[in-house]
């Protein structure tokens, strides 16, 4: 099963597939490419080999017949990650007039990271709403409008600011569908940049995924490439559940070629970045790039790591993760969260619960230190996981 899937992922079928399957994009590193941070991918479809097959309740995914997949020169268009987010947002706003954006400086300013640039001119001030600085209240406003027929996308200028909105996110976003007995749905998307940047200081370098993960009723995804950023943005907007989309401050300028045709990714699936045999490395967001950098070193040393970008922080895609563990029997988790109570901690316990018998070594988890992120560059580098540590951890695992 696993090898079939791998084969499907590695191959690039040129025939169009049945349109009722969920498209899962995957990407292949251009091997031996000079710069580690530029990722190339080809448009791929993996249709019928999905093991989940027929009994999936397929999402409403608009798909055109893959007529363009047979072009031989590079298909698609190149853009940066923030432009991919904007493209996804723009397409969804075009398609559904109830989609609106609210946040600080999203309108006339175009977004502090330019994700919403130009949208206010195109859609008007009410659809791209510049809010006053009142996170708790405008998040609550987003929830109230979601309950009454709109599909808001609430932007936190920095994810850390959403701590002010925790009351609304926990009590109303997460719980309201349940406490109302299913009467009201909250199709809201809460998004914003988080993570450790370049010397932004402790409060602008927070990783909120660990705080939000306990909230029942909430889904969390983290994007890491322009391809999955656009796909996840569209999926999050189309989802009936409240979704928190974690972006990363340092990844906004990643460039990639993405398909021209419309695609929506699954919110619950993980992405296999690099197939391998020796060790499974689970990661997400920016740490993916540290892992890939370490992977080059490891390959030179003779190791063959399998790298999976888990993408879905809540819930975990235990199928993809499990298949990988069943193959390699060794797990390393690399994350940017704090050590205590982070995503890695939850992932570790989920793996132990489900795949204990397949493990040949203890699960190693590399996370950031439980330290408020210092301003000084050297100290900041030491709080997050660096590629050298990843290499050392793999070597230790594979002894």
């Amino acid at each position: 099963m696993a090898s079939l899937q791998m084969a499907a992922l590695l191959s690039a079928p040129s025939t169009p597939v049945a349109s009722d399957r969920v498209r899962v994009g995957s990407l292949r590193l251009a091997a031996r490419n000079g710069s580690a941070l530029v990722v190339r991918s080809e448009a791929k479809v993996s249709g019928g080999v999905s093991a989940r097959g027929a009994n999936l309740i397929t999402h409403a995914v608009a798909e055109k017949a893959a007529a363009a997949s047979s072009t031989d020169s590079k298909p698609g268009h190149e853009l940066l990650l923030f432009e991919a987010l904007r493209e996804g947002l723009d397409e969804e706003m075009e398609r559904d007039p109830t989609v609106c954006v609210m946040g600080e400086d999203v309108g006339h300013y175009g977004g502090s990271y330019k994700v919403t640039k130009g949208l206010a001119t195109k859609y008007g001030d009410l659809r791209v709403l510049d809010t006053p600085i009142a996170e708790n209240s405008f998040t609550g406003m987003g929830i109230g409008s979601a309950m009454t027929g709109l599909r808001p996308v609430v932007e936190g200028m920095n994810m850390g600011f959403l701590l002010l909105a925790y009351n609304q996110i926990s009590n109303n976003c997460g719980m309201l569908h349940y406490t109302s007995g299913g009467q009201f749905k909250i199709p809201i998307v809460i998004r914003g940049p988080g993570g450790v940047g370049r010397q932004l200081g402790a409060e602008h370098s927070q990783r909120l995924e660990s705080y939000f993960q306990s909230i029942p009723g909430l889904q969390m995804v983290a994007c890491s490439t322009p391809y999955n950023a656009k796909g996840l943005m569209k999926a999050a907007i189309r989802s009936e559940n409240p979704v928190v989309l974690f972006e990363h401050v340092l990844l906004y300028n990643l460039k990639e070629r993405i398909p021209d045709e419309e695609y929506v990714l699954s919110l619950e699936e993980a992405e296999k970045v690099r197939p391998g045999e020796h060790v499974t490395i689970l990661t997400y967001s920016r740490m993916r790039y540290h892992v890939m950098q370490a992977a080059k070193t490891l390959v030179n040393k003779g190791y063959d790591p399998e790298v999976i970008d888990i993408r879905s922080l809540k819930p975990f895609d235990l199928y993809t993760i499990g298949n990988s563990i069943k193959k390699t029997h060794r797990v390393l988790i690399v994350e940017e969260c704090m050590r205590t109570g982070g995503i890695g901690a939850s992932l570790r316990s989920a793996i132990i619960d489900n795949f204990w018998d397949y493990l040949d070594a203890p699960i190693l988890c590399l996370s950031s230190q439980d330290v408020p992120t210092p301003y000084a560059g050297t100290l900041e580098n030491w709080t997050v996981v660096q590629p050298e540590q990843i290499v050392a951890a793999v070597e230790q695992l594979c002894k």
């Binding site: 989940r52 009994n55 999936l56 309740i57 007039p97 109830t98 609106c100 009410l126 659809r127 809010t131 006053p132 009142a134 708790n136 209240s137 405008f138 998040t139 609550g140 406003m141 987003g142 929830i143 109230g144 409008s145 979601a146 309950m147 009454t148 027929g149 709109l150 009351n167 609304q168 009590n171 109303n172 309201l176 569908h177 349940y178 406490t179 109302s180 007995g181 299913g182 009467q183 009201f184 749905k185 909250i186 029942p216 009723g217 889904q219 989802s239 009936e240 559940n241 919110l267 619950e268 699936e269 809540k314 819930p315 975990f316 895609d317 235990l318 199928y319 993809t320 499990g322 489900n354």
Partner: protein
């Protein structure tokens, strides 16, 4: 009172107190911001030690004298809020009450909405700061003022004049308030019999606010409430059977038993909750109002009657919360069709509004944000209804939000677990004499809108409705295990993909409620 002041000055003079002491008295008095008793008792005023006994005795004398002054309900509110503060020398540290500046004239208020005229009426202009009546420790009464404009003064409460409402409306209002009261009384009974648990907050005494506002709404208008939401639900149209079943935690409740007393929701009746945390519902209400505006302006789904209005109900304690102010700002900024209804019952559990708020007059906070702020007697359903009519019409026309402060009172404790020891009996008696249901009944009979027997038959009918609700709730089934996981996500794929590759919600154990998720 003034004569006592001069006696004091005379006594001071003959005891040859220090010159600066005399100058201090003169300075304070010429300022006009306090008068004899406040002067004597202000903590910043420290007489020379020689005069301590005299000072103390005089203060006691003044205290007892002002005890006998009758309380007037028609004066402006400001002076009533000054509490008697014992002098610092003889007491432990006390926090001084808020000192008020004089009311600005109406010309300084923004806008030209009809509501601005309300508080520039005679009630306010007759404040005299020299009045000596106000300062002793008196029961903490809130303001009661007529809200109608000048040509309709006292219309609602005077007899032998044209009734403000038709017979049908009067009976509808009466029935709604009686339903609210009877339902809440039954809740208390059922709670003490062990049929419902947790925190139950009853609305007895405040029915006029709920009925006065909600009975003017259309089906598509929204109501957002707090934990004291049973009667809001009933007024909005949620059947009492469903509310009672929800309180009992049964599967037939309006939220399938998953919400409880503090989380009443009804999509069919546009009741957007039921929120347990203070202030939490106000942003949600602002969002619903935003949605109404969006539907009109962006989606072009306009209605002939105007925008859908949202009512946000909350209490006096909430008015010190950040979410309240943030939403006042946003609502006025975008002229959202929302009405912020403050049910000022003076107490937030055991915290008196006056002890918690620097400026206890909540209606004033409206004009601070540019919207009309209205104060109304929340024990009189007809007055509330009149204010509500205007506010709702404004919102429908797209003129923006209104802040309405309803002076009201809850006859019972904060919740059924509250021993309610801090509120004074005379305060409770004062408001019990202003029971909204009794007042409306009197009004109906005096104006000949209905007979006593008709009203009694309504009482009986409501008793039957409530009995039926209890029976229905009693006989309803408890939620089964299978209900446990159903409503966590609107799209249950949110539980993710299990190790076997299937979505967890496809696991057969999921529908049984025993799946591992």
């Amino acid at each position: 009172m003034v004569s006592l002041y001069y006696i004091k000055c005379f006594l001071i003079r003959i005891t040859k107190g220090p010159r600066k002491f005399l100058n201090k008295i003169k300075a304070i008095h010429s300022d006009g911001s306090s008068h004899a008793v406040a002067l004597l008792t202000s903590p910043s005023f420290s007489p020379p030690p020689l005069l301590y006994p005299l000072h103390f005795l005089l203060s006691l004398l003044l205290q007892n004298l002002s005890n006998s002054f009758p309380f007037s309900t028609s004066l402006a509110p400001l002076s009533l809020y000054l509490e008697f503060v014992p002098m610092a020398a003889f007491s432990a540290v006390k926090i001084p009450p808020p000192q008020f500046t004089t009311v600005r004239s109406s010309s300084q208020r923004p806008g030209s909405s009809p509501f601005q005229s309300v508080h520039s009426s005679s009630a306010f202009n007759s404040i005299s700061f020299g009045s000596a009546k106000s300062v002793r420790s008196r029961p903490l009464f809130a303001v009661s003022s007529d809200v109608v404009s000048s040509d309709k003064t006292k219309a609602a409460s005077s007899s032998a004049s044209i009734p403000a409402v038709t017979r049908e409306v009067a009976l509808e209002l009466y029935e709604d308030m009686v339903l609210g009261r009877a339902f809440e009384d039954m809740c208390a009974q059922m709670y003490y019999r062990g049929k419902m648990f947790g925190f139950v907050h009853l609305y007895n005494g405040q029915e006029a606010v709920s009925t006065g506002f909600i009975k003017l709404l259309n089906q598509s208008d929204k109501v957002v409430s707090t934990y004291r939401d049973h009667v809001h639900a009933l007024s909005k149209g949620v059947p009492s059977r469903e509310v009672m079943a929800e309180l009992f935690g049964k599967a037939t409740g309006c939220c399938r038993g998953q919400g409880g007393s503090m989380h009443m929701f009804s999509a069919a009746h546009n009741l957007l909750g039921g929120f347990a945390f203070i202030g939490e519902g106000i942003p949600v209400a602002t969002g619903a109002a935003f949605s109404a505006k969006y539907h009109h302006e962006v989606l072009k789904q306009s209605k002939p009657e105007g925008l859908d209005v949202t009512l946000a109900f909350f209490g006096d304690g909430t008015c010190n919360n950040g979410q309240f102010f943030e939403c006042l700002n946003m609502a006025q900024l975008w002229k959202l069709p929302i009405i912020f209804v403050v049910e000022n019952n003076l107490w937030a559990i055991g915290m008196s509004h006056l002890r918690a708020t620097s400026d206890p007059e909540i209606w004033k906070k409206g004009p601070a944000f540019g919207m009309p702020g209205v104060h109304v007697d929340g024990m009189d359903v007809l007055k509330v209804r009149e204010v509500a009519q205007e506010a709702i019409a404004r919102a429908r026309r797209g003129e923006g939000p209104t802040l309405v402060e309803c002076e009201t009172y809850r006859f019972r404790g904060h919740s059924l677990a509250d021993p309610d020891e801090l509120r004074k009996p005379d305060e409770k008696a004062h408001y019990a004499s202003r029971d909204p249901i009794v007042a409306l009944k009197k009004y109906i009979i005096e104006h000949g809108l209905a007979s006593e027997s008709e009203l009694k038959s309504i009482d009986k009918k409501i008793d039957d409705v409530v009995e039926d609700a209890v029976e229905f709730a009693d006989s309803s089934p408890l939620p089964p295990r299978s209900q446990l996981l159903e409503n966590v996500f609107a799209d249950p794929k949110g539980f993710g993909i299990g190790p076997d590759g299937k979505y967890r919600c496809e696991d057969p154990l999921f529908t049984q409620g025993t799946a591992q998720v």
